[in-house]
């Protein structure tokens, strides 16, 4: 921190500038806290109201006028139709059949709640329709007491509170500026800390501590002069800043935020609608194989093995087929190269989910194309999705069909850059075809294939559509790869979002390791 | 008064130990065309770009018309530049290319039209105003690039090897064009090239650069007739100067340079830095231009004996490459009765037209 950094920028201006930056951040944190709190607070209020009303009705007293409370009876056999069972509802002293004409709007809610509370459970929740209504139901003498409150809006945004607090903070900061050097930092600290006051009142401890931490950080930055340099940097690079901001904002909202949330969700368990913090439980369960043996599809390591095998097999096949075709197509004496090339990249042009479904159809049953072909050659039917090996092969065949054109095109491009004169000189020097391939063709292919293999391996590793649509993981989830497995945790095995998120994080780490180390190895095989 | 001044300019790139330009001081007087010339990598383009504002000097100041522009962006320096690759905006017509800078300054449309048309007329571009750059030839494109600079009426013109992309015949025509425009506009200009012919024909003053260091500043005649060191001497003149190693011995009031197969009396009057007491100067390099060697003796010429190794017939003149005891010699002479390869010749040297350089420091004596 140099003396000149103080004298060059008018101190008051600098204080207010730093307060402005920190203030905006603190405001965002406080607003987030507010939104969280007000929902909580609304729920508490409404549920309390509903609870009291339900208790009142259960005791036979009247409920509050704004609350729709009643006692719903057990289901009784209808007098008119003996196979029907109906409930009756008693409210305000009058009894009627629940659900009969004329319809009352809340009847469905009462009916569902009665069914749920029948088992003896007590319900106390907000209605999921976002109206702000709470529903409480529990068993009572004579049936089930249910209370539904009127809609209520959560507390409005406290503009005045925030403006007041900002003003107070700004004056503290300015006061600090005018008093003296040490007072400046104290002023900043105090000014930003005032923004934490509302959060303390709302008992949002997380938000309060974040804002206080922010206050300390900014004051410290001021102390060592970083805040000045930062502000100057922003001004120097203001053009770049303005150009980058739309994409930067979009990326933070659309990519960074979900990514962080995905990371955090891995530490929770989601079960039937409720989230519970479980720490590293999900991760340990996944990494320890989830209590299953190594050849069971629910074991993470099994799926990882399948995924690695899947990737390696595919890339090997893609490169072999693609490069062989490229070599064939680049022969000088080949006619119709353009047409062949155009036709051979057709598989790449087709949307890959259609390819997957198409091949699934071909592997299906007796009359599927593949089995028909086997018949024609005299072999028997194969139930492609009945065993692991055949299902896996079906997947690989499909993915190879759609994947080889990419390698072929890359190889063709690389082959086109080889000057003819090299081959001619080699022939004149007496090299055989194999020698020409090894010493001229191969070294030219490697630099192009390196990045292609790196990219292709990542695409194959994550190829969701083929696995999902061709074998569908059959038999019994064993041909799943990591990404489809994570999907199933989230959307098929009972909405276990926590497990899915944890597995997603693990997949990300694997890919990160591969991107950093593996691709470097692949690409380092290029000639200098 | 629109002069250009560079003082204490230094340019160093991060991670590279040697600075491209260690310490440059240069003044370009108003209305003069100063040509920076030197081999590739000598820092001439870098200097130009720093004046343009496309690169920042590591240290030093640049003043245009007395105003310190060192840290100003190009837009605020009131300069115009003609690029080697023309840098015309491909999606705009010739008219729009020339008008672009004026439009940014929000000049009235009528004024823009007037200026552009006048400049186009003076450059012979009137019929091409509505064409796109890709419909133009190289020479026409370069004219448009020049027109774009002229139309802005800047304080300083900058030329970055503008003729390097043109073929030889066109280069000559465009050279004269540029000279004419400079005379007409009477503008201050900095011109960068590696071609010594462009330097000699266009410059009011030449600045010779090597490795970022100024070797010599002077008029074309000065540079040619009195090169400050061996590098400058060898850079200018085609074919380049002959250099012969010799030892200098001094006696009372006279000196002579002695080498393999020759001894040249050195008139002390012609070599003012040769003081009688300066006995430290011993090993020298004698420089003599090819056109100063002849096959006929005149006056006190000193002979050099050798065999013609090769003969290049240029038409009216002939260049002979002669192997002599003193080393290889290049002689430029009339085509007349020129000897053939294999012939033994006597080449005559006029002692008054030699240049002497210290062998170690390569400075002129």
């Amino acid at each position: 921190m140099s003396e000149s950094s103080y004298t060059r920028v008018p101190v008051l201006g600098r204080q207010l500038r730093d307060f402005m930056f920190a203030g905006v951040l603190a405001l965002v944190i406080a607003s987030a806290a507010f939104v969280g709190v007000r929902n909580r607070e609304l729920a508490a209020r409404q549920i309390d109201l509903a609870t009291r009303s339900a208790d009142a009705v259960a005791d036979g007293r009247d409920a509050l006028p704004t609350v729709h409370a009643a006692i719903v009876s057990e289901p009784r056999i209808s007098t008119k139709h003996s196979y029907l069972r109906r409930r009756t509802i008693r409210e305000g002293g009058k009894t009627r059949v629940l659900g009969a004409e004329p319809h009352v709007a809340d009847d469905k809610l009462f009916y569902d709640a009665a069914n749920r509370a029948q088992q003896g459970a007590t319900i106390a929740e907000m209605l999921p329709d976002g109206s702000g209504r709470a529903l409480v139901a529990h068993k009572a003498p004579g049936g089930i007491a249910i209370a539904i409150t009127a809609p209520a809006a959560p507390a409005p945004y406290p503009f005045l509170v925030f403006i007041g607090v900002l003003g107070l903070g700004a004056s503290l900061v300015a006061a600090g500026a005018l008093v003296g050097r040490n007072a400046q930092r104290l002023g900043t600290l105090a000014g930003i800390a005032t923004l934490a006051v509302p959060t303390l009142l709302w008992q949002s401890w997380v938000a309060a501590s974040l804002i206080l931490a922010l206050a300390f950080v900014v004051a410290a930055m001021q102390h060592i002069g970083v805040s000045d340099r930062f502000a100057r940097g922003l001004v120097t690079h203001r053009v770049a800043l303005s150009f980058l901001s739309p994409a930067a904002v979009a990326m933070s909202v659309l990519v960074a935020a979900p990514f962080v949330i995905g990371l955090l969700l891995g530490f929770y368990d989601h079960h039937q609608g409720t989230w519970t913090f479980v720490g590293l439980d999900n991760f340990t369960r996944i990494l320890s194989g989830n209590g299953h043996s190594l050849d069971d599809p629910l074991n993470f390591w099994f799926i990882l093995g399948v995924t690695v095998l899947w990737t390696v097999a595919n890339i090997a096949l893609h490169v072999t087929v693609g490069v062989s075709l490229a070599l064939l197509l680049s022969r000088k004496w080949l006619r119709g190269k353009g047409i062949f090339r155009m036709l051979l990249i057709l598989p790449w042009a087709i949307p890959n989910y259609i390819t997957a479904l198409m091949w699934k159809g071909m592997f299906q049953g007796q009359y599927g194309a593949v089995n028909s072909l086997l018949h024609a050659v005299g072999l028997g039917d194969v139930s492609w999705f009945g065993s692991w090996a055949t299902a896996f092969s079906a997947n690989v065949i499909t993915n190879t069909w759609l994947g080889f054109p990419f390698m072929m095109v890359v190889a063709l491009g690389a082959l086109e850059t080889i000057p003819k004169e090299l081959y001619e000189a080699a022939s004149v020097d007496g090299a055989s075809a194999w020698q020409r391939f090894r010493h001229i063709t191969l070294p030219h292919l490697r630099p192009a294939l390196g990045p292609a293999v790196a990219l292709g391996s990542i695409w194959t590793f994550n190829m969701f559509n083929v696995i999902f649509l061709v074998s569908g993981g059959k038999p019994g989830d064993s041909t799943n790869i990591l990404v489809t497995d994570a999907y199933r945790w989230a959307f098929e095995r009972g909405d276990r979002y926590g497990m899915a998120a944890a597995e997603g994080t693990i997949i990300f780490l694997i890919l990160l390791l591969w991107t950093v180390f593996g691709t470097r190895v692949v690409r380092s095989k290029e000639p200098a | 008064m629109c002069d250009l001044e560079l003082s204490g300019i230094r340019k160093q790139y991060d991670g590279v130990a040697r600075p491209v330009i260690p310490d440059l001081d240069l003044v370009i007087p108003a209305h003069k065309m100063v040509v920076l010339v030197g081999p590739s990598g000598c820092g001439k383009s870098t200097t130009l770009r720093m004046v343009a504002g496309l690169e920042e000097p590591t240290a030093g100041k640049i003043l245009i018309d007395g105003r310190d522009v060192t840290h100003l962006p190009p837009a605020e320096r009131d300069i115009a530049m003609v690029f080697q690759s023309y840098a015309l905006y491909p999606h705009m017509t010739v008219f729009e290319n020339m008008a672009f800078g004026l439009r940014i300054k929000h000049l009235p449309e009528a004024e823009i039209r007037r200026r552009v048309e006048a400049t186009a007329d003076s450059l012979g571009l009137r019929p091409y105003l509505e064409r796109r750059p890709k419909a133009l030839s190289g020479g026409q494109k370069q004219r448009v690039a020049i027109g774009r600079a002229v139309v802005r009426q800047p304080k300083v013109f900058l030329f970055d090897e503008p003729l390097s992309n043109l073929d030889a015949k066109l280069r000559g025509d465009m050279r004269r064009e540029i000279a004419r425009i400079h005379r007409e506009l009477n503008a201050t200009a900095m011109y960068v090239t590696h071609d010594q012919i462009e330097a000699m024909t266009l410059a009011d003053q030449i600045v010779v650069l090597k490795d970022g260091v100024v070797q010599q500043i002077g008029t074309p005649i000065d540079i040619y007739e009195k090169p400050a060191n061996r590098f400058v001497a060898g850079f200018f003149g085609t074919p380049s100067m002959n250099f012969l190693e010799a030892d200098l011995t001094q006696g009372a009031g006279s000196a002579s340079a002695r080498g393999n197969g020759f001894e040249i009396p050195v008139p002390i009057a012609n070599v003012p830095s040769l003081r009688p007491a300066a006995a430290a100067v011993d090993r020298v390099v004698v420089g003599i231009r090819p056109e100063r060697l002849s096959l006929a003796k005149t006056g006190d010429d000193v002979p050099l004996r050798g065999e013609v190794a090769m003969r290049e017939v240029l038409g009216a003149e002939v260049v002979l490459h002669v192997e002599s005891a003193a080393g290889p010699l290049t002689v430029r002479t009339d085509a007349g009765a020129a000897p053939r390869p294999g012939d033994t010749v006597q080449v005559w040297l006029d002692p008054k037209s030699i240049h002497l350089f210290d062998r170690a420091s390569e400075e002129r004596l």
């Binding site: 053009v239 770049a240 150009f243 980058l244 739309p246 994409a247 659309l254 990519v255 979900p258 990514f259 969700l265 064939l328 080949l334 036709l343 051979l344 598989p347 790449w348 042009a349 087709i350 949307p351 989910y353 198409m358 699934k360 159809g361 071909m362 299906q364 049953g365 009359y367 194309a369 593949v370 089995n371 028909s372 095109v409 890359v410 491009g413 990045p451 292609a452 969701f464 999902f468 649509l469 990404v483 999907y487 899915a500 997603g504 997949i507 890919l511 | 343009a52 504002g53 496309l54 837009a75 530049m81 690029f83 840098a87 015309l88 491909p90 800078g101 940014i104 300054k105 774009r148 802005r152």
Partner: protein, 283 residues
Amino acid sequence: MKRRAFNVRHALVHAALIVLVAVVLYPVMLVCKKAFEPGHATSLGGSPLPEHVTTQHFRDLFGARGPHGELLFLRQAANSIIIALATTVVGVVISCTAAYALSRLRFPGRKAGLTTFLVVQMFPATLLMLPLYVILDKLGLLNSMVGLVLVYSTTAIPFCVWTLKGYFDSLPRELEEAARIDGASPWMIFRRIILPLARPGIAVTALFSFMTAWNEFIMASTFMTDESKYTLPVLIQSSVGQFSADWGLFAAGAVVTSIPVMVAFYVLQRSLVGGLTAGAVKG
């Protein structure tokens, strides 16, 4: 030296290639045939040439009606078009200035930014699917076109930034230097010089974004639950269900949906490989 004589080996290779191409194209021909063949087959097989031709499947496809009697296919096609267009517009508009900054401007954190965009592109969108699902659920944007466009933008923006940056890199720097000397501000240079020159690159990027969004299946299927909100890929997949599959309908849908993107693909395929490998090599 050319061999004019009939070379057996060459002829064999040509023949083998033709066979190979036929094998590769067989599935495609099968699908085309099934689109026109009457009957509701339970699998895809048989000869690639139809014995009888009918437009029944196409009529089924176009004529499917929803619960309120509206034409579903038109609705779903419109969904696909709107969502793909919106994603493209959002992607290109938001990314172009950032791509320019990353290409031309110097600022601290540029290298980190470039690496970030490259790395983000390499990771599957399916990893983010779960958190996005949870977030959209909280925001009430599930089963809505806005939500799906947001989800697609998650991958579209990094892709557009990276591709456009590669394209801007290829524009000659001298043009910008000349413009700077002419007095243009960075924004003016971007708007008046760079953008007009980058039109082909922007078109290619836009077309790729459109194709990617058009072909996207799993997220559309997960996030959209209403039939009327389906995009075409979801529709096509639903005709090949767990237990019953109408391959004729599938084939008709596949033909109709694939043709536009296949045409676009063939137009673009030369720039595809260049962009991919250049991006990967430059890092």
